[in-house]
Amino acid sequence: MTVFEEWWLPIKAMVENKEPLTIFQSFYKEIYMNVLQDDRWRMYLDGLWITLKVSFFAILVGTILGTILAVLRLPEVTELRYKGKNPLRRAGDVVLRFLCWFAKFYIDLMRGTPLLLQVLIIYYGVFGQVRVDKLIVGVIACGLNSSAYVAEIVRGGIMSVDRGQTEAGRSLGFSGPATMLWIILPQAAKSALPSLCNEFIALIKETSILSYIALTELTKAGDYIRSRTYSAFTPYIISGILYLLMTLILTKLIGRLERRLRNSER
């Protein structure tokens, strides 16, 4: 018998005998039932781990895809026209034109529909008869959704960079894409960082929607424990604290990155 259980048994007896509890006893009752008993803290940590994994990979997918989408929305790219006669490059021009159109459509679609519906459609529609890891569904759904928001943030960042930077890059002989990659995007990232941080925080919290497809992430872990203990809200508070910890740490890390970038070009 653990020491926690020893403290618990007299309180449990009091509850069963309908004796009033002091504030501390009530508090311990909640902690014991929702955290200590049956190693339930493990459930939160497992849920936290899954939320972390989904968020990390969704942010990765969202950032890479979002950056590509952002580039496809730039006037320099959408107004690009190939005037030569090489048939291969003419075809490439048509493909590019389609991609630009699709990027705009995709961003409107993803921003204009609820994430929950997107999750359900991907889970039940795209992976209809496939036994797929729900984690992967979560990463895909949240990543695709986030990419639309990231795209607009990054686009704003790119447009805030002086046009002269592009000209300087091109005049050295860098191609358009190489100029974007080496010269424009690093500068765009710096100015987009605060908004990106916002988006990442929102994404971490929105992964809680994945509990709808029964992925046992942090919110679902709280739900699970609550279904056992019938505590009105204690599991939610514990999950909430863990979300807060995650977002605070992320904010701190990005803040540090921001400061480093700022210091380098005072």
Partner: protein, 247 residues
């Protein structure tokens, strides 16, 4: 001025007398659980609905139904003294520490829904398989006991679990016998079959706020009277007849 106050006071007294005369109890429930509770033609229907109406009549209070998600029922009951939960809720020792339960009023047994041809026949066959159930129901507890927590997938509703069974993401779904029968009859999916593996269910009870022992006593007394009158047999005939027909 005094007169006005006097009138107001007497009105208030009148009002409180009227309220005392017909105390209204709010019934928190999740009407997505036929035949226990469901909506038909805009009316709340079902075993639990009929039962609580009969209890209310015996115990002398009015009921007002409030539909919500299954996992919201408990919060309502815990935080509001005049709210009870009647929604096919399993009585467990742990839950008793946070709410009071009436005497158990039905134990309908559990069934297992599987895909036709999967060859699962006994509870032993289910060990290590992915089993789905509605979160916090007696089916959920049973699944966890058979196949472990890591293989148990829990859902907001039983039908969500069935969707994952249809989508090959689960091997089996455990559900209350009458509920499974009723919902699958409506689903009309030939690829699903029902197996009775003799799984043990928990009793259903009515949730009452811990601050309201008087109400609990009234409900328990009414349950006793209804049982003596043979009311539960009537309910079984009314709501479980298609189940008998299926067997």
């Amino acid at each position: 001025m005094k007169k006005v106050i006097a009138i107001l006071v007497s009105l208030m007294m009148l009002a409180s007398v009227a309220m005392a005369a017909a105390e209204t109890i709010v019934v928190a429930f999740n009407p997505e659980y036929p035949p226990f509770e469901y909506v038909e033609n805009g009316e709340y229907m079902g075993y639990d609905v009929d039962l609580i109406k009969a209890i209310a009549e015996k115990a002398g209070f009015d009921v007002e139904f409030e539909a919500m998600a299954f996992d919201a029922v408990i919060s309502e009951v815990m935080t509001k003294k005049d709210t009870i939960g009647v929604s096919g809720i399993s009585i467990t020792e742990e839950r008793k520490l946070n709410v009071d339960f009436s005497e158990g009023y039905i134990n309908a047994g559990l069934i297992v829904v599987i895909k036709d041809g999967s060859g699962l026949a006994t509870a032993d066959d289910l060990k290590g398989k992915k089993i789905g159930a509605q979160l916090g129901t007696t089916s959920d507890f049973a699944a966890e006991e058979i196949t472990g927590r890591e293989n148990t997938e829990t859902y907001k509703t039983f039908l969500d679990a069935i969707k994952d069974l249809q989508g090959n993401k689960l091997d089996a779904v455990i559900v209350d016998k009458p509920v499974g029968m009723a919902l699958l009859a409506g689903l009309a999916d030939d690829s699903l079959i029902i197996v009775d593996m003799g799984l043990q269910a928990d009793w259903y009870g009515i949730e009452v706020n811990k601050e309201n022992p008087e109400l609990l006593e009234k409900i328990n007394n009414a349950l006793k009277e209804l049982e003596a009158e043979g009311f539960f047999e009537e309910l079984a005939v009314k709501y479980f007849s298609n189940e008998e027909a299926a067997e």
